[in-house]
């Protein structure tokens, strides 16, 4: 099944990752990038000055890392998009011996090789304009630098000579776990300064994703470095293949997720095509709801539920004989709203999405105290969207005022305030009707 990007229509990226414009690059982000640049340049200079140790090994690892970067895919959501490159870089950072002979390369050489190879592997991506390359490189250089600085100086001083085999293997694992933790903190900090979403939930999501591909990368890094120590460089191609399999699985998973999201969005457009709701309504509610969910610190799975529910919140109207005027459900009597919501839940249950999505759609018209938090968000954002559209240009404040007046029963005050903050921050590029 091919998952070619659509030529026009919906953006391929999910509503959870809206393009943020107008936000100046923060100082922290600039500092981190400068640090990575400094580290990379310094290591390259030192390595050029002192010359390469064990050129063959450096070349082989460099090739592997460059290859890994070449096969990187540009999924917006996946945490680690080049697992092979990451595993190769980490295993070089923790390489202590090759085919039984100790190696002598230092931390500077590790960072230099990784930087050069990653830069080389990034060329096609930059040329094709795919993916956020700069931050990816920054993270790679800093993470590998950390692992190499922790390990190589100590190893080269002979501190680990007395260690038995299994203890040494466990040491590598411990170092990798530490590196992964640092990487998660770094990634969350970078995402935080880029998007200004709250730091805590971002870190939690990063840590959660470590259990998935992160653990596979770390284990592969450790295995590769140990296997090279036993059998030499042949271990690299032999063990790259299983990791490629993992990478392929992730890719297919990412692909089907994209397709699935597109299909859900199409289903959501059914009400628009049928003339029940204004064009682009579902999409705008989804984008705003996701932003509010982020702001309130929801977790990734909750955000997915929220996005799908927001896209399909009006689907119950398909079962109506006569369209509601302008599709505006927020002004209908409560009973009628609840009936449409239940009809919608029935349709959503057939779609095979998470049952939680159906629950959100069903309960979107309930008073907020009886709703799950995702349904509260959908309810408030939907009402805001309809009211603001009605009020015409400059209707934002009017609509927010109306929502605030109804916070006793219908809308949760915290959600409305979060919505106000998201709107005040601006910068969210909402897709216009179409």
């Amino acid at each position: 099944m091919s998952t070619a990007a659509p030529r026009r229509g919906f953006p391929t990226r999910s509503a959870r990752f809206p393009s943020v414009t107008g936000a100046p690059t923060s100082l922290a982000l600039t500092l981190v990038r400068a640090l990575a640049l400094f580290l990379g340049a310094l290591s390259l200079a030192v390595t050029l000055w002192t010359g390469l140790e064990e050129r063959g090994t450096a070349l082989a690892f460099g090739l592997l890392i460059a290859l890994g970067e070449l096969t990187r895919w540009s999924g917006a959501e996946e945490r680690e998009t080049a697992p092979l490159g990451a595993a190769g870089a980490l295993s070089y950072a923790l390489l202590g011996a090759q085919a039984g002979q100790p190696t002598h390369h230092g931390a500077a050489q590790v960072v230099a090789v990784v930087t050069a190879a990653a830069l080389l592997g990034c060329v096609p991506h930059v040329a094709g304009g795919r993916g956020p390359t700069l931050d990816h490189l920054t993270r790679r250089v800093l993470t590998v630098g950390f692992a190499a600085v922790c390990f190589q100086p100590l190893y080269n001083q002979g501190r680990f000579h007395g260690w038995s085999g299994p203890a040494y293997a466990l040491l590598l694992v411990a170092l990798l776990v530490l590196t992964a933790l640092c990487d998660a903190v770094l990634a969350a900090a970078m995402a935080h300064s880029r998007t200004r979403w709250p730091f805590g939930p971002l870190l939690r999501d990063e840590l959660r994703s470590m259990l998935g591909i992160g653990s596979a990368v770390c284990a592969t890094g450790a295995v590769m470095s140990l296997a090279v120590a036993v059998v030499g460089l042949w271990a690299l191609p032999v063990f790259s293949l299983p990791l490629l399999l993992t990478q392929l699985s992730f890719r297919r998973y990412a692909g089907v997720r994209v397709t699935y999201r597109q299909t859900i969005a199409s289903l959501a457009r059914a009400t628009e095509i049928a003339g029940y709701t204004p064009a682009g309504h579902a999409r705008r509610v989804a984008v705003l709801s996701s932003a509010v969910g982020r702001e309130l610190g929801l977790s990734e799975p909750d955000l997915t539920v929220l996005e799908y529910a927001a896209l399909m919140h009006d689907i119950g109207q398909l079962s109506l004989v006569d369209p509601v005027p302008a599709g505006a459900t927020a002004v209908l009597p409560a009973e009628e709203q609840r009936r449409i919501a239940l009809l919608g839940g029935a349709v959503v249950r057939q779609t095979g999405v998470d049952a939680e999505v159906a629950v959100v759609v069903e309960r979107q018209a309930d008073p907020y105290r009886e709703q799950p938090v995702t349904a509260r968000i959908v309810r408030a954002v939907n009402a805001y969207e309809e009211l603001a559209r009605e009020a015409g240009p400059g209707g934002t404040l009017t609509a927010l005022e109306k929502l605030r007046l109804a916070t006793a029963r219908d809308y949760q005050p915290e959600v409305v305030e979060s919505l106000a903050r998201v709107l005040a921050r601006g910068g969210l590029t909402l897709p216009q009707a179409g």
Binding site: L226, V238, F239, S249, A265, S266, R269, I273
Partner: protein, 448 residues
């Protein structure tokens, strides 16, 4: 399988006997028993770890997500590389007997699987030893060590294929040729990758770093399987969503119930007959299933109207291809199917809608769907007339070929029907995907 044929039971009994013969030399063996125990426990653990399951709604359609597969093969193969044949065969037994089995009869399936794996592993280990693999693991010399390992993987795969094909032929009455065809080629690539992981495991096990390092090999394999199960879950959910789209049309346009699936099926038959590759066949089936999705945009009153339509009402209904195209244009994987949805009412002589395209201007997929659509409309019962028999419908299609339909497509449909007959899915509840023949459920479920 509901009841198991007697011959299949005899076959299973023979393989069990073979497995027992493989285990006979066990009491005389001098092997490190803790290695056998550890590997067996590991394998049993891998088999018992649950993978994410498909959502309830998707269970009825599509393939089941393969469960518990894959992550254990490196353990078994590492056993084959590390241990004497009989001991390696023993490693497979506890896990296979404890495995989760969904379908009945459970115990027969478990025993079959244990016996099959034991025989295959025994053969693989035997070949590995014969080619001098033992010393290649203890003192690894790459790339020479790859030769016995490769031969062992080939043997393992071959034995599994032969045994699997036999049980398919006997128990599920699949024709023998069909049972074996593709089974080997499909399973070789994943087994080879797992073989490499197994080799790495065996080498690390014997290295100074010991079993701890070997266990690390399993982690990426497990993550890979876990993600793959997730992929299946998501795919099933996606199928259900497409079905929901079709059902939404059915709600509005009651009398065409099941029409969409049948058009998808007929489109697929034509596509196969034209020799399209699998991916395009799949896309064309979606084109057939979704061709009328634009009817969601047409007022229900018009769709359900009995009696003749006014010209204006006709014009409104004729907007449905454009509505449909508008709806699905954001779904990337549909590709060519989107043009088929837009143009399935064009006619070869240019009198169709929406654009009045002529002959070759009409996309190929649209020409296929047009024939399939007309064929199913004629052969199903509508409120205003009875269904026509298949030959009469074909005759009518041939009469209109050239002016309305592409003669090539009509001929392809006729050929396909004469060979396979017309067995449309009866209800709309049938999956969007016909259930693929689930072969062993273990090997085929791999992304390679």
């Amino acid at each position: 399988m509901g009841s198991v044929p007697a011959w299949a039971r005899v076959y299973v009994a023979c393989v069990v006997l073979g497995a027992l013969v493989c285990l006979v030399p066990l009491p005389d063996l001098h092997v490190p028993w803790w290695v056998v125990t550890l590997l067996a426990a590991l394998y049993a653990g891998c088999e018992r770890i649950p993978l994410p399951r498909g959502p309830r709604a998707a269970g009825a359609s599509g393939r089941e997500a393969p469960k518990g597969m894959g992550s254990f093969l490196p353990v078994l193969l590492a056993g084959a590389f590390l241990l004497p044949p009989a001991a390696a065969a023993l490693v497979a037994l506890p896990g296979a007997l404890l495995a989760r089995v969904e379908q009945r009869p459970r115990w027969l399936r478990r025993i079959w699987r244990a016996a099959q794996l034991a025989v295959a592993i025994w053969a693989a280990s035997r070949v590995h030893r014969a080619l001098g693999g033992r010393s290649a693991v203890v003192e690894p010399h790459f790339p020479q060590a790859l030769v016995p390992a490769g031969a062992a993987v080939l043997t393992f795969c071959l034995v599994l294929t032969v045994l699997d094909g036999g049980i398919l032929a006997l128990a599920e009455r699949v024709p023998v040729r069909g049972a074996w065809r593709g089974l080997f080629a499909r399973s070789l690539a994943p087994v080879a990758v797992h073989g490499l992981a197994g080799l790495m495991m065996a080498v690390l096990w014997r290295s100074p770093y010991g079993p701890v390092a070997a266990l690390l090999v399993l982690l990426p394999m497990y993550v890979s399987c876990w993600v793959f199960a997730q992929y299946h879950r998501e795919r099933a959910a996606h199928q259900a969503t497409i079905r929901a789209l079709v059902q939404a049309v059915d709600i509005k346009d009651g009398y065409t119930r099941g029409h969409s699936e049948r058009v998808g099926q007929a489109s697929m038959m034509i596509a196969r007959e034209l020799g399209m590759d699998d991916e395009r066949v799949e896309v064309l089936r979606f084109a057939g299933i979704l061709h009328d999705v634009g009817k969601l945009g047409v007022p229900t009153r018009l769709l359900r109207k009995d009696g003749p339509l006014t010209p204006e009402e006709r014009r409104v209904i004729e907007l449905h291809p454009e509505y449909g195209h508008e709806m699905v244009r954001g779904i990337g994987f549909l590709g060519e199917a989107r043009s088929a949805i837009l143009h399935h009412h064009e006619r070869l002589d240019g009198s169709g809608y929406p654009y009045g395209l002529v002959g070759g201007q009409i996309p190929e997929f649209a020409r296929v769907v047009a024939v399939a659509d007309a064929f199913d409309a004629m052969t199903s019962t509508r409120s205003y007339r009875r269904a026509r028999p298949v030959p009469a419908a074909l005759e009518e299609l041939e009469r209109c070929a050239g002016a309305q339909f592409d003669p090539g497509m009509v001929r392809a449909l006729a050929r396909a029907l004469s060979r396979q007959g017309w067995h449309p899915a009866v209800t709309a509840d049938n999956g969007v995907y016909p259930p693929a023949p689930s072969v062993s459920g273990r090997l085929e479920g791999h992304p390679t």
